[in-house]
Symmetry: C2
Subunit: 455 residues, 2 copies
Amino acid sequence: MEQTTLFEVVMNLYRQKKFAELKTIMGQLNPADVANIIESADGRDVIALFRLLPKELATEAFAYIDPDQQEQLILAFTDRELREVIDELFLDDTVDLIEEMPANIVNRILKNTDPRTRSQINELLAYPADSAGSLMTPEYVYLKSDMTVEEAFAKIRAVGVVKETIYTCYVTEERKLVGVVSLLDLLTASYETVVGDIMDTNVISVGTKEDKETVATMLAKYDLLAIPVVDGENRIVGIVTVDDAIDVLQDENTEDIEKMAAIVPTDKPYFKTGVFETFLKRIPWLLLLMVSATFTGMIITGFESKLATSVVLTAFIPMLMDTGGNAGGQASVTIIRGLSLGDISLKDVWSVIWKEIRVAVICGACLAAVNFGKMLLIDRLLLGNADISVAVALVVCLTMMVAVFIAKLIGCTLPILAKAVGFDPAVMASPFITTIVDAVSLLAYFMIAQAVLHI
Amino acid sequence: MEQTTLFEVVMNLYRQKKFAELKTIMGQLNPADVANIIESADGRDVIALFRLLPKELATEAFAYIDPDQQEQLILAFTDRELREVIDELFLDDTVDLIEEMPANIVNRILKNTDPRTRSQINELLAYPADSAGSLMTPEYVYLKSDMTVEEAFAKIRAVGVVKETIYTCYVTEERKLVGVVSLLDLLTASYETVVGDIMDTNVISVGTKEDKETVATMLAKYDLLAIPVVDGENRIVGIVTVDDAIDVLQDENTEDIEKMAAIVPTDKPYFKTGVFETFLKRIPWLLLLMVSATFTGMIITGFESKLATSVVLTAFIPMLMDTGGNAGGQASVTIIRGLSLGDISLKDVWSVIWKEIRVAVICGACLAAVNFGKMLLIDRLLLGNADISVAVALVVCLTMMVAVFIAKLIGCTLPILAKAVGFDPAVMASPFITTIVDAVSLLAYFMIAQAVLHI
């Protein structure tokens, strides 16, 4: 039996117009949960539910709602409601919102923000997508190095609630970043201590143009709650917080996985992508890989007359090609992930190749041995396929070793090569590798067959 | 020209015995950077470098160092050095360390901890791997609801430095978790305020046995800095902090990607895995998939006599199989990722199938149309392959549509099915799907060929 979901409880109360109970329940929830419920509602219920929320919860939940429903809500908002929501949003969330909305809504949003915020928004919008600048928020706490800890606390108390994080404070001199001090350091120091004496001058920061994946990886590597973003003259212009870094890491992982599966990446969840849009994301690589299989076809056609005399060889083409593809895919995906996590860098190319060669030789030998036994014992003896001679098994197994060797070699070098010339290594995964390995191992198959079977 | 790395500078100073300069430079660095340098050094240099570090930096860096070098260091440590390092480690890091070390080192570590810590370590070690209990640390700040904000600050100041985070404090009554209060809330309240009045009683917590991936996903979803872990009676036993959650998410992503590429997951970086170990992680799936290709071989063998009369059909086997495999891989990987991110759940199975069917029909039609044109224009006219008649092109293109349809259908259902019966959906990715799709589409190919070409 299915459990009643929170959403069903809420919608039942809503339909029975038990608004007081509804308010009480909603008030118990987290902004992210409230957003989930609102997203699952449809049409006019979305706005009605939203208006039932306590004001603070409503504005907090707004940042978690999907762009589609955000748009619906804004269309239904009065200017006053819109202003209340925008005032409460952190600036980076406002920028994200603006980037997703159509022009008429963007205009309404900008019309309902004060001039100072508007100019900050416009500045943030100017940073290239995927840059640290586009990800950061200007809402950080900055201190001066000659402040006492008592003065620092007064400042944090005064501005804290509207800043994205107060747990790391940045010490600036003429806007230049000179130090960083954690709230823990401030709390455990005496009130008279001068900030300059307890700040850490060894600040990890990133430039506005730094790739956002690099920024997120740095936050993860150094276990930071926030990282400051500086311009060319080391002036702090914003911070990136750890919650945004996690989202970036998850998005980049999804993107890599999609690319590895020969899909053009999308940033929308599965059910938010229409059928035709899904088709458009999938068809380019399918077409390209299909057309490039022409070479495989040409190789087979070239050996057609010889194949006709030894049709038994055809039966092993799929197995040889799949095994080659799988072996190459393993190598390429391992290298792609290593590059992305920073375990492998460009200069490691020779160590990678040397390791993969040894792995390929052992894998190839093991597969060939098992296959040799399988062909003679199962295919020939058990299934009674008399065409499978020792010579045929030898041809297949030799090809297997060559295919695995070439597959691992191509699989491990192509991602590094892609990275070296500035492409995304993730594209060099199984589907792409398979197409190349297919052609090469077929050629090897026929050449070995000619040499051994004299066909 | 390659840039001189920080590691090279450090090692040069070290070899020239310029220890004062070395100390100055190392003092500028972050624990994570220092760990990187120490990991790159070898043999006795590791311990010599470590001893040159300022004491606090040394102990902080220790937690970031790879298990191999940690073991080396501990073997070289005096008991006093070991005690200093262990005292400074957060408890969850100590537990991680113990889980990686051989028995003799574990005994030395436990011998050098005080009885209270030792019993906490033993408690943490008892939680199953991959559970919230194994990931948490008991080092959190707890307050009482009748404390004033002033008393709360006194407590935080007193215990803060040795707790993993002080930015979220947990309010307990007889160890039961009754509320949560952020340091920001405390800072912006007056000193006389009672904690119970400003705490949030709507606490998001997880059980000790909760899967660690779920815990990490919750931290990400609710934008938390830490999440409390409670036992069966809602007593708080520890917290999981956001930095550990990020590591879990990254590890789980790597594991999923490896499984999708038919690799048995490993938790070690590429260069830390030996050749034979890498072979062992890759060979099981290669063998299994190779042997299961027996079916494909049997199908071809069954149609051998007919293939001999129409060898042209062989040339398109690789293309049909690759396209099927790619189309199925796209669907399966999309679904696997959707399941892992929570975008898709078991009850969505029918919506998923209905969407994939529509995508499959458009993709199949598009691929078949392009292929039909390609076969007649390029293969027949341009390359002069007279065997390719309109009928042959029709057979290939009809098979293409069937293969894509079946591939997408199998690709989208198998991961959901795997999840439903409690397996990891990630295994149901391209390599596995390809093997099934190969067999089914070959059958379709020969049946369509018989019907259309009357072979």
